[in-house]
Symmetry: C2
Subunit: 370 residues, 2 copies
């Protein structure tokens, strides 16, 4: 294992994608604390790609070519990371492997975007499409903070486009579409009584146990959309019942929180109806979160050009990503980026040199700079 170079984000040549990723990992940017990294990215772009249009909204930076091409491709990468985990905020290098927080999710993707911006500046004539590059904040936290969402809200024209690629870690695969999310909290009421005389009351936890058993036994579907198998999931993610600190009281309240990931065959309303059916027997149901799924759109011409034109392997995206935000606006979008999605958000997060270079090669060919 060698110590990483101390070269900063402003110094590394973009041709050294591995080195640039290392420099980006060395700048902490946990969600809500992206200012320093946003400033460095903006400064680098203004220094190294000044011919592109550069806009900033809060800690979000949008860079655009204005070449008058027929179609505009949007490439997006979030600046933030989840919190550090077991000291992984310091990058370490082991041969061609870079370990550290954000190495896969998604500072390697940011390095690829920076290089594309600089290549477009160096020679825009090669570009097959107009290109928009979005560097944004707060993807790893609640939807209300999401930087892409903020831009769509205050200056949506910055994100106009015909096709979007998000550089979420996919390990060289196209991860098409994404599943939707529905989080619901079901409440069960009872009546308090002394535990020595439970027949004077009604135990809310006992009542909930029937529904809980049904939920835990529920077998989820694998849903085919455009030939892709979306494996749904349905999990009880929380349960709470009892009178705080009282072991003598028959409890009058129990709540169960469930998280369903649903295939892009369904709307959030359909997913909700199915969840409500599973929760039948609850006294009240509150929907805590409902995020639409994104269809894979494999038959869309631009998606087809990207996927089949570049002979990329395709699989469905099971987690929710910002592709759904584009899908909601009718813009086909997919996930394609360096790094293994299975190790994102883990202490041992890493990315390989080959994975970063492969991503750049694919995207570079698509927009014409490679």
């Amino acid at each position: 294992m060698t110590a990483p170079s101390t070269a900063g984000v402003l110094d590394v040549d973009a041709a050294d994608l591995f080195g640039l990723t290392t420099a980006l990992v060395a700048v902490p940017s946990e969600s809500h604390h992206e200012a320093e990294l946003a400033d460095l990215v903006e400064k680098r772009l203004r220094e190294r790609a000044p011919s592109l249009t550069i806009d900033r909204v809060a800690h979000n930076i949008v860079v655009r070519t204005q070449l008058g091409r027929d179609r505009r491709v949007l490439l997006g990468g979030h600046l933030d990371t989840v919190p550090a985990n077991g000291g992984n905020d310091v990058p370490t290098i082991d041969g061609d492997v870079l370990r550290g927080l954000g190495s896969a999710d998604m500072k390697s993707g940011l390095a690829v975007l920076l290089r594309i911006a600089e290549e477009l500046h160096a020679d825009a004539s090669r570009a097959t499409h107009d290109v928009t590059l979005a560097f944004y904040e707060c993807e790893e936290v609640r939807d209300e903070f999401n930087g892409l969402g903020k831009i769509f809200e205050v200056q949506p024209d910055l994100l106009d486009g015909d096709f979007a690629v998000l550089l979420e870690p996919t390990d060289g695969w196209v991860e098409a579409g994404c599943q939707g999310v529905l989080v619901a909290k079901a409440g069960f009421d009872g009546e308090r009584a002394h535990a020595a005389r439970p027949w004077m009351g009604s135990n809310a936890i006992h009542t909930a146990s029937e529904v809980l058993a049904r939920l835990a036994d529920h077998e989820t579907d694998v849903v085919d959309v455009d030939g892709l198998e979306f494996r749904e999931s349905f999990q009880v993610v929380g349960i709470e019942g009892g009178v705080q600190g009282k072991h003598n009281v028959v409890p009058d309240r129990c709540t169960i929180t469930v998280n369903r990931r649903f295939a892009p065959k369904y709307s959030p309303e359909e997913a909700e109806a199915q969840v409500r059916e599973l929760l039948d027997g609850a006294d009240d149901i509150e929907i805590l979160q409902a995020q639409m799924a994104a269809p894979p759109n494999l038959t869309d011409p631009l998606v087809d050009e990207f996927v089949r034109g570049l002979s990329l392997p395709v699989r469905p995206k099971l987690g929710w990503t910002d592709v759904a935000r584009f899908a909601a606006l009718g813009i086909p979008a997919l996930n394609f980026g360096p790094g293994d999605p299975e190790i994102a958000h883990t202490q041992g997060e890493y990315v390989t040199r080959a994975s970063i270079e492969n991503c750049y090669d694919v995207l570079g060919r698509f927009v014409g700079v490679v």
Copy 2:
């Protein structure tokens, strides 16, 4: 409804049991805050029953005759109440009904004890037994604070005796023995994973749901002891699972807390073994509370003299009471006091004049002052 008299604990004549109870209810004495009431009770006893031996241990007062009778009967009443509930800390009178916190549980019992002390002082020659009266603190809270327990620990000779009656509300019945209590917390482990990929982990709540269903379905027994039917109970009194504030995570921990009330046929060890069997499948089990049951002892000569000699109706005590503390020392004990046990600890707690007077009449006849 009339406003209660403003006469204080020191002023009311003990012959007015209803008035004395009202004065006692007017002095707040939530558990851990019994000092004022203990002081008043001690002062009254020193003024009105000075020929009896009076001892004080913390906020516990023990009053004894020293008549050399063959047998000593102990009568016990706790000074504390549960917390006020909906403004019931102010006594109100409606004809022959006194409403308010502690009216049944058990300031009416304390009034009966004070009168017995004063009658014994007035003319001890009538006494059929030596008598010990114990006024004690912290019965309504965790066992470690219990005043009787404290006296047994530091000055056990104060509580020597052949038979004990606790003035818990029993509505004129003898409530014999008491059930034991076993509280256990069972833990279930899982492995965290992202809710979009639950198959990478293991859901602790789903695992717990099987055991929970078994617990909720468990049918409890009715156990015959000395011809009394002890109706056992088994309740899930708490459940907790999930990663706090995270709806995206397959939970790695779920705990279930159960409360079993077991008949005096069983020891705490036997009750624990039965509970452990019901919890089979848990990864860990912690016993939070284990309190032994008390046998009804109906065949004991003194119990028989009390129950059959005074023609009292008998039923089993389902809740745990301090009779178990005496039972553990081989002293037969039972519950007999004014007020309805079903309304103890409720906002609408009350006691009737007849209920208090009946209790005094029975206990007074037993010890010879009536």
